[in-house]
Amino acid sequence: MPPKSGSLWEWVIPMTFFVCASWVVWQLPAFILDWIPPASESLYGQVEAIFVRSDIIALPAIFGKHIDIVDLLALVMIPVTLILGIRTVSRASLESENFRAIDKIAMFLGRVTMMMIVTLTCVMLYEVFVRYVVERPTLWANETTLWLASFVFLLAGLYAMQQRSHIRIVLLYDAVPRNVQRLFDVISTLLIILFASATVFGSYKYVFYNKLYKWELYGSAFNPPIPATLQPMVLIVITLVAVQAVINLINDWNLDPADLRTPEVDEDEIEAIKRSLGQDVESK
C-alpha cells in the first residue's frame, strides 16, 4: 500500500502559500513604489495610477506611502508557508521515490501548482455559470484563468523535471555502460544550462526592466499585469529548471542503471486504477 496523501494540511499549506503569493504579486506595484521607486517622475506617476486603480483593500499605509498591513502580512507569510510546506511535504503515491531534501522545494511548488489547477477550474466553471445562468458575465474570469494556467504550465515543467518525467528517447541510453550514461547526463545538463543562460542573457533587461519594473498590463478591460508577471516568471522558472537538472545529475550520479531506467508505465497509477475497480478484479 503506497503512503496516503492528500491530508488536510497538504491542502491548506500550499493553498495559503498560493493565496499569499497571488496577493503579493497583485500588490507588487506598492512594493516597487516604496522600496525601489523609479527615478523618473512620469514612470512613478504611471505605476502609482495603476496601483491606485487595482488596490483592493485601501488600508492606511504603514511603510512609505503604499504598503499596507495586509500586503506586509502576505509578504511575511510567503517564506513562512514555503518553509512549512517544504518541511512537511511527503511523497504521494504516484511520485518517484528518488528524492532528497532539496528536491522537496520542487515537490512543494508542485503542490502549489495543484492548488492552482483547482482554482483555475473553479474560476472557469464560475464564469460558465454566471454567463449562462445569471447572465452577467464577468470581466475578470477568462483572463484570470489564462494567467493562472500560464503559471501552471511553467511550474508543472519544474515538477516534471524533478520527477524525471520529461519525454526522452532511451533506446541508446539504456544500452550503454553506466560511465557513458554519466557522460551523456553531463552533456545534457550542460546544454540545459546553456539554453537557460542564453534565454536569460537574451532578455533579462527587456523583461525585468521594460515589463516588470514598468508594470506592463495586458491591455484589456480587466487589464491584469500578465506581461509584467509572466515574462519574468518564464526566466525564473527556466533558471530553476536548470538548477533542478544539476540537482538531478548529482542525485543520480551513484545510482544503479536498473534504478535509473524509466519505466514504460506508471505502476502506481495502475495500482490506483485497480483499487478503483474494487475487489472483484483482484480475485480474477
Binding site: S5, G6, L94, G110, T113, M114, I117, V118, T121, M124, Y126, V128, V130, V134, E135, R136, T145, L146, V152, F153, L155, A156, G157, M161, S165, H166, R168, I169, V170, L171, L172, Y173, F184, S188, L191, I192, L194, F195, A198, T199, F201, G202, S203, Y204, K205, P227, L230, Q231, V234, E264, V265, E267, E269, I270, A272, I273, S276, L277, V281, K284
Partner: protein
C-alpha cells in the same frame, strides 16, 4: 551561414541529442539557441573570444535572443492551451470514477449471447470512452483489467483479445475530443472545433473496421470466440431486443425532458429576446413545444406499448450507459451547442465526471441508507447553509448586484466541502491533480522547446527552404505524400506523438499546402481551405498505428502491466498485426478519398 547548412546541422544535432537521452523539449530549445547563433553570429563558433561584439551578444538583456522568451510567452498566453490540463484532468478522474465498470457490465449484458460479443463490447466501450477522454493509456489499462480476464476465461483467442483491447483502447486520440488534435490545431493555427468535426467520420470508420473484423473473424473461426453458458433468468433473443428498445425509449424521454427544460429556461428567461448573435439551437418556443410533445409521446409509448414493468427492467439493465452519455452530452453539448469554447467544455466535462464519480462511489441503496441514517444532520446543515446563503450577501454586500453570484458560491462551496468529507473522493481528486500536473508539465515543455525551435528556424527561413526543395524536385504529388506517411510511421515507432507533431508537422504542412490540390487523393476533391484539417486527421490516424507498432508501441506496455504473467510482450505485439493492418487500411481510405473529412464540416 546559409540555411541549407543550418537545416542539416539542426537535423543531425537533434538526432544526436535525442540519442544521448536528452529530454526532447530541452534538446529542441538548445537547438533553437544554436540556430540563432548560426544565423546571426556565426563568428561566435569560430572565435568564442568575440563574445560581446556581434548581433546576439552585443546588447545583453535584449535583442535577437529575446525571441526565445517571446515565443514561450506567446505560447503560454494562448487560451486554447488551457484545455490540455483540463482534458487530462477529466481523463484522470474518469479512469478512477467507476464509470467504465458499470458501463461494461451493462454493455456485456446486451451482447453476451452474440458470437464474439465480449470483443465487440470491448470495442464499443472503447469508442464511448474515447468520446469522453482525449488521451490513451488509462483506457488500455481499464480494458485490460475489465475485459481481458473475461475474454481469456471464456476461451477467446488470445491474439484476438489482446489486439481488440489495444487497438480499440488507442482510439482515444482519434475520436474527439483528442489531445493530439488540440496540439496540432494549436501549432498549425487550425480551428480545433473543425478538426474535431472532421475526425468524427474517420474515427468511427476505424472503429467500425475493427468491429467488422471481429465479426467476420469470429464467424469464420467460431473457436476463437466461444459463447458463454446462458445464465438462467437473463433475457434472451427477442425479449432482450424488446428490453433494449424500452431502455432507448426511456433515454429519449430523459433527453427530451432535459432539452425541453433548457429551451424553456432560455425562452422564458428572455435570453432568446436578448440574443443578437446566432440563434441558440433547439431553444425556440417552437422547439420547446415539440420537445415537450416528444417527451409526452415517448412516455406514452413507455407506459402503453412497452409497459411499465418492461421499461423499468430495461432501465435497470441499461442504466450503466447513462453516466457516459451524460459526460459526452456535456462535452459535445458545450462545444457544439454554442455554450462555450473547447476550453470551458473541458472544464464542464471534468466537473461532470467528478460528480458522477461521487454518485457512483456508493450504490443507490447505500446512498438511501446514508441519507436515512443522517437525515437530521443533513437537513440541519442544509438549512443552515441556505440561511447563510440568503442572509449573508444581504449583510455583506447590501448594494451590490452580485448577490445571486455570492449565494451560488456559498452553496457550491458547501456542496464541494461535503463531498470532500468522503475520504476516497479526496484521494481521487488529489491523485487526479497530481497526474494532471505531471502530464501537463511533460507535454507543455516539449511544446515550449519546439515553439522556440520553430520560431528560430522560421526566422532563419527554414520551412520555406525545405518546401522549395521538395516542390522543386518535381516528384509526383502522391509520391511525396506516401513518403511523408512512411516517415511518420517510422518516426511513430520510436518517438512520442507530441514530439512528432511539434517537430515534423511544421515542416510537412507547408509542403502539403503547396502541392497541387487536385492531385491529392483519387476520389473527391479537397477544398483548399481544408488542407490543414485533412493533414491533421491523417496525422492522427498515423499516430494510431504508432501506439501499436513495435518496439515502443505504448499500448503494448500498458497492457503488459495488467495482463497475466504468461503473456509476453512478443505475444502482445503478435496480436497487434491484423489490427495494424486495419489501421493502415483506414489510413489508405483517408489518402484515397481525402474529402471524407469534409462530410460533417
Amino acid at each position: 551561414m546559409d540555411i541549407g547548412t543550418i537545416s542539416l546541422i539542426v537535423m543531425l544535432g537533434l538526432i544526436a541529442l535525442l540519442a544521448i537521452g536528452m529530454p526532447l523539449g530541452f534538446a529542441s530549445a538548445v537547438l533553437a539557441v544554436a540556430v540563432l547563433v548560426m544565423k546571426f553570429e556565426p563568428a561566435l563558433l569560430t572565435n568564442p573570444m568575440s563574445f560581446g561584439d556581434g548581433m546576439l551578444t552585443g546588447r545583453p538583456g535584449t535583442g535577437a535572443l529575446n525571441l526565445m522568451q517571446n515565443k514561450i510567452y506567446g505560447l503560454l498566453t494562448d487560451y486554447v492551451l488551457i484545455s490540455i490540463p483540463l482534458f487530462i484532468f477529466m481523463a484522470s478522474l474518469l479512469e478512477r470514477s467507476g464509470v467504465a465498470k458499470t458501463m461494461y457490465d451493462s454493455l456485456s449484458m446486451w451482447l453476451n449471447r452474440t458470437r464474439g460479443g465480449i470483443a465487440i463490447v470491448t470495442s464499443i466501450m472503447a469508442v464511448i470512452m474515447a468520446a469522453m477522454s482525449g488521451i490513451i493509456g488509462g483506457e488500455v489499462v481499464l480494458l485490460g483489467l475489465i475485459a481481458l480476464p473475461q475474454m481469456l476465461r471464456l476461451g477467446y483467442n488470445q491474439n484476438l483479445a489482446i489486439g481488440t483491447i489495444c487497438a480499440s483502447g488507442s482510439l482515444g486520440t482519434m475520436i474527439p475530443p483528442s489531445i493530439v488534435l488540440i496540439i496540432y490545431g494549436l501549432i498549425t493555427e487550425t480551428s480545433i472545433k473543425a478538426l474535431f468535426t472532421a475526425s468524427f467520420v474517420p474515427g468511427f470508420m476505424l472503429a467500425s473496421f475493427i468491429i467488422i473484423y471481429i465479426i467476420i473473424r469470429t464467424q469464420i473461426r467460431p473457436q476463437d470466440a466461444p459463447l458463454p453458458d446462458p445464465v438462467p433468468g437473463d433475457p434472451v433473443g427477442r425479449e432482450k431486443a424488446g428490453l433494449f428498445f424500452a431502455f432507448l425509449n426511456v433515454l429519449v424521454i430523459a433527453a427530451a425532458v432535459v432539452l425541453c427544460a433548457r429551451a424553456g429556461f432560455i425562452e422564458f428567461s428572455g435570453q432568446n429576446a436578448a440574443n443578437e448573435g446566432e440563434p441558440y439551437s433547439l431553444a425556440s418556443l417552437n422547439a420547446f413545444f415539440k420537445l415537450a410533445g416528444l417527451a409526452a409521446v415517448a412516455l406514452g409509448v413507455a407506459l402503453f406499448v412497452f409497459g411499465k414493468e418492461r421499461s423499468a427492467r430495461g432501465w435497470k439493465l441499461g442504466k450503466g450507459l447513462v453516466p457516459p452519455i451524460i459526460v459526452i452530452g456535456v462535452v459535445f453539448g458545450s462545444i457544439y451547442g454554442g455554450i462555450s469554447g473547447i476550453t470551458a467544455a473541458a472544464g464542464m466535462g471534468a466537473l461532470a465526471v467528478f460528480l458522477i464519480a461521487v454518485l457512483l462511489h456508493y450504490t443507490t441503496e447505500e446512498w438511501v441508507a446514508l441519507a436515512r441514517s443522517r437525515a437530521a444532520r443533513i437537513v440541519m446543515i442544509a438549512s443552515v447553509v441556505l440561511v447563510i446563503a440568503i442572509v449573508l450577501p444581504m449583510i455583506v454586500i447590501p448594494n451590490s448586484t452580485l448577490k445571486s453570484e455570492m449565494r451560488f458560491m456559498i452553496i457550491a462551496i458547501a456542496i464541494f466541502a461535503s463531498i470532500l468529507r468522503i475520504e476516497a473522493m479526496r484521494e481521487l481528486l488529489w491523485d487526479a491533480l497530481l497526474r494532471t500536473m505531471k502530464s501537463t508539465g511533460t507535454i507543455i515543455w516539449v511544446t515550449i522547446g519546439a515553439a522556440t525551435l520553430a520560431g528560430a528556424y522560421t526566422v532563419a527561413g527554414g520551412p520555406n527552404y525545405i518546401a522549395n526543395l521538395i516542390i522543386g524536385a518535381e516528384l509526383p504529388t502522391m509520391g511525396i505524400i506516401l513518403a511523408m506517411m512512411l516517415i511518420l510511421l517510422f518516426m511513430g515507432a520510436f518517438m512520442d506523438w507530441v514530439g512528432i507533431v511539434l517537430l515534423i508537422i511544421p515542416v510537412f504542412l507547408p509542403i502539403v499546402r503547396r502541392l497541387p490540390i487536385d492531385e491529392i487523393g483519387f476520389i473527391g476533391q479537397l477544398e483548399p481551405k481544408n488542407v490543414g484539417i485533412w493533414v491533421g486527421v491523417v496525422f492522427c490516424m498515423n499516430m494510431q498505428v504508432s501506439f501499436l507498432s513495435p518496439p515502443f508501441g505504448p499500448a503494448a506496455f500498458y497492457l503488459k502491466s495488467v495482463a497475466p504473467a504468461h503473456i509476453s510482450l512478443t505475444d502482445i505485439f503478435k496480436g497487434f498485426l491484423p489490427f495494424i493492418g486495419i489501421q493502415i487500411m483506414a489510413l489508405s481510405v483517408l489518402l484515397i478519398w481525402p474529402s471524407i473529412v469534409e462530410v460533417l464540416l
